[in-house]
Symmetry: C4
Subunit: 391 residues, 4 copies
């Protein structure tokens, strides 16, 4: 029972089937519940179906409450070393996701019980959306990026503030006598922000010639300066995503015997070239006759290879797809996943850059390829690879 | 006849002349036909020429129908191994481009026959534009990029949604009592989206001091956050374009005997340095006296070299333009394509980085250059290249 | 006394406690003082508290005046070689920050004394904000970037001007007869700038069909062209930030004995991989059981390492966190700063790329790791690192 | 006389003094003349000074005519091999800049002579701005970039068109019955373009719920898709700028004897690290006591080095500034240009990465540095550089 409940909220690459269902149901509940809280602020939107919306909303809340209870319960099942179940539950309650789960249900229930003002219900109803954060790495990644790039971000913020202050002061003096939108520097500041961020609502617009001249300069400068933080965040974000991919690949590489012969620096190099990929049962990974632009290493799971020479099964630690890379020919076999698989994918370009100049590595791949081609009656050409001593 | 029809819709780098004509005519037909369908929604735009527009539109439809018939017919001419002509045609019909071709004509004809509502004619008329997708790699590339970058894209979508929800909730509470544009959270959401995407229509604008303060923060944050997906897509798109270029160059390199002596990892390296270029018959590739910043390898076709020492012809497998790179001098000859050519271009910088430190390669180029310079009576200086054993 | 005063305005990574307080107080004063100057332009904003605002403003001015006096005084305490105290003070007065400090107080005081117009007070009140520039590298960095990238920036400015002129001329001819916003080319120029910078106020909008067509093209081209300077500045800015980081890291590397054995080119390489980090007293740098993705080198300060095998102290020149990188295991100890520390951080990826293939370096790290693991009773596995001769 | 006239319009890095004056005067004339043509379209802007403006304009035209005549004349002075003076002048007349020069004066004069409509005067008056193109590499660079990146640019243009068509069709059906801005697909297209380019004039805005929902999606997608061409152009532009810098540096490197010992691939490597810099007579290149972050190679010109050990002069082929890089100490001398200089600058980071691991190179620099330090009585430390055999 305990295991079943824990499985219900399990995460990781291959959760049990019930976890997939539960998660999907929960995501739908959260989205619908947030949507109802948002729509609820439009008066009379439900028309005569208000009762129905109310009931449906209560039903969703029930699911969210059940989810919170479940997580609180299971948090106590696997305490860390030297921790009581109670302490483990307390740790969950005070964790970020625990607080999000709490906010999704408790304040609302308290509000209902004590007949508190409706605004609270709206706020906490909308905050339910934060429960989704558990399923997306985005918020954590963004946090890391903001911390990493704090200095350049603050620097560009300072520049932006300086520009906003300078441009609103200038426009205030240019327009104050004729334009009510610039009758004080703080009013002009609203125009500055709207202009520098290239929003351009048009509710406040310079009307004098001098104002338009200054406004033009501000517009162009704003375009340049306000791109700084956007660009810092954007490049930091993709760098961080790449780094996370490296770390997860790096740990998986150790599980593939083929890479065991590599030295640490080679592993670090190939780990940044490999891309992690997953396949579900029955997925076709390559089709005979297609152009082949990558090879695969199996981390876990099994695939079925169906070529001219027959059918065989490959499992974790094996690789496939190397023939098309060595021979520059179309795929010579069709490969289908016969269980859930984790795969590491190596591009044609990276294959030749990395693998092909390491004789020991190449020999292993070459030998495998040759024996497979013999099975399919394909004549090896070598595709420009250096000659390898006959096995 | 079969070959003639197949040639009519042939693709690839050098299609027959009739294919070029047919394709151009078809592109014009598609563009004009889409334009007519769009303009047709403006009432009375044709004035008294409505009959003419109707007739012209029918004519265009005829061409598109002919194109569909032609493709359906020829699809059966070259079936894959173990496929009947019928099955090959069915495969075309169900392919993406087959469906686009189908949608361009059939629904319209059906609608005309059965006198269906005019909206359908409008929709399918506009959808004809999709037929152009066949001639642009953009849609496929974009699809690949979106799949490759799915995780970061979804992550940034989540951040955007979170920001939209948070900012509309905040503004709703700040402005709801005085501003009809914020009278519910869903109304405020429209403002949020318009602001976060830096559109700034100005139909809904915060008017209170608190609203403007919050709006300023939202505008600046929006600028930063909404740049994430744009930047992810943009860098993924150019990366994918570069990868496609690598793959096509990599296959062409194998056709140039000069590169045959390279090892696989060197081929992979040079393939990412080379750029593919095409020349039509009569095109002048370099002119004596110009500054020379690259050398060329001929993949297919022939060129005529006219220098001080006379005129000679080079064909596929040969290279030219190396003297200017070695001697850092202006071009010593004028080179003209005398047939359609596929060329691989190597930059000065890449030449020196890659070719010049490989003695074997260098010797070949050097020897060729020396014999050509002898013909033109140019004194070789070496331009900093290491001495090469005399041939 | 002299030293105490100098300490008050000391800068650098670890200023004395009083400098931190003084700086914080000053920043608050500057921000509040600027804010008051801005708000002061809104008539009647203080209501009946005007007297209070006036007094408070005077108080802030007193602090800023004291700061200026202090800086002027201390500038004379440490003159450069062969300089009198007076000359050193004059140098400060004429330096950029000296001028900012001067403008923050003197013009205002002069204005008050001679009853000059209020606009001056507003301007110089707002200019106080520039005093903050001392605490942000942003302005200097931006200046360097603009100088470095002057040629491409001017080039893109020229393109932008050309586009603005061309598009306003075109729209002027298309719209002049019907649209008052385009009744001269200079009027149309305002529309051009607002459109090309994607502001789109909407105060002037083309209304004819031709105007809208041209406007569409201008909008799309503007999007492309006006991204040029933004992108040049943004990439220059992050490049410059990275360069500044390199220079400061490069100087610190020399202080870590561990790096003394490296050759100059290796130092230059690792200096661009290391990131500078600071820790305050009591900060926990890593926690036992966490995933470990970097190792640390101590430049200055002391840390306490608490593992299973006991507690020990590391000081400047030592490193820690290497076990998790070599063994790919979670952290085996908790590390806390017991004084203010400057640390150099090396990423897992960079560790393996740089350190692991240098046998001499690796041996040092490996030996330390092994002796520490022995203390904690951890069995070394090697994590793919090459075998090292037993010590 | 001929030489004097040719010198007047000379270009290149160090033109004679009269060329600098002439160019400056011409730029001012062009800018003012264009400005007058623009302002001239505002009726009554000159008030009673119309006569004056007319006269001044005629004066400027005289200068431009003189410039055209001068260029036409001097074009015949230095014909290419086997070309008559007339043919050389014709070549200039038909060159791009020749046409710009022609358009700046001839059509206007013709117009005046034959009393042609005023619009022509306006157009050709504004087109004078194109004469400036001669002094900016921007237009040429942009042309090269657009040609280089034609395929991805067209691909993204296709995506943009597709999005504009799809979104205007969708919004047309959503809004046509209630919103006059969407009463036909072509009307909706205006909204699409304005929205997809994030302009957001606000003249046409969706008003229905469905319209706003679709509009939100279009806004976000537009943000992503319309960043593609901007990003392609921006990265192509800076890549091209970098490439142009490489080519000019690469040619200059050959003039510095110090680099003569390098092999071609090393030259190509260092040429992409060096930055070209120019100094006018009297400019101070470094000041004793400053932090030193780069060293200089003199391509042409002379500098004066003033250190503790005395003053000496360096000329083309020499280098300076190396001590601060080797010793990581502040500058030990002040260096001033005593004639116009072309310099190649090498960064600290690049110095250590490139120079320091090449023993032969290092020895030369080291020896020079040691002898200079001996003169200034500085004790060499070596700064982590490998020991060099005593000279």
């Amino acid at each position: 029972m305990r295991a079943w409940l824990q499985g219900l909220i399990a995460e990781g690459p291959f959760p049990p089937r019930r976890a997939v269902f539960f998660r999907s149901a929960l995501v739908v509940c959260i989205v619908v519940s947030t949507a109802i809280a948002i729509l609820d602020t439009s008066e009379g939107i439900w028309g005569q179906h208000e009762e129905l919306a109310r009931d449906f909303s209560a039903l969703l809340l029930l699911v969210l409450t059940a989810d919170y209870g479940l997580r609180l319960l299971t948090a106590g099942f696997s305490p860390q070393e030297g921790e009581t179940a109670l302490k483990a539950r307390l740790r969950y309650t005070l964790s970020l996701y625990g607080i999000f789960d709490f906010m999704a249900v408790v304040p609302f229930l308290v509000g209902e019980a004590f007949d508190l003002p409706r605004d609270g219900a709206t706020i906490f109803g909308i905050l339910r959306f934060l429960k989704l954060a558990r399923y997306s790495p985005a918020l954590e990644t963004l946090g890391v990026v903001v911390l990493n790039e704090l200095r350049p971000l603050l620097a560009s913020l300072f520049i932006m503030l300086l520009m906003a202050i300078a441009s609103s002061t200038l426009l205030y003096f240019a327009e104050r006598s004729v334009n009510p939108g610039f009758k004080s520097v703080s009013d002009a500041m609203w125009w500055s922000i709207v202009t520098l961020s290239t929003l351009g609502y048009g509710d406040v617009v310079p009307t004098t010639v001098l104002g338009k001249l200054l406004g033009s300069v501000v517009a162009v400068l704003g375009l340049c300066m306000f791109a700084l933080p956007a660009s810092i965040l954007a490049s930091g974000f993709s760098e961080e995503m790449r780094r996370q991919n490296f770390v997860s690949t790096w740990h998986l590489v150790a599980k593939v015997p083929f890479f065991a012969r590599l030295q640490a620096n080679q592993i670090a190099e190939i780990a940044s070239l490999l891309k992690l990929s997953r396949a579900i049962k029955g997925e076709v990974l390559m089709r005979e006759g297609d152009t082949g632009e990558c090879m695969y290493f199996i981390v876990s799971g099994q695939v079925e290879v169906k070529g001219k020479g027959g059918t065989f099964v490959l499992k974790n630690g094996d690789f496939f797809g190397e023939i098309a890379l060595i021979e520059r020919c179309p795929r010579t076999a069709t490969v289908k996943a016969i269980s859930r698989c984790q795969l590491l994918v190596l591009d044609a370009r990276d294959f030749h850059k990395f693998v092909a100049h390491d004789h020991a590595l190449l020999e292993v791949i070459w030998e495998t390829a040759r024996s497979r081609m013999a099975m399919d009656n394909i004549q090896p050409s070598g595709g420009g690879l250096p000659p390898v001593p006959k096995a």
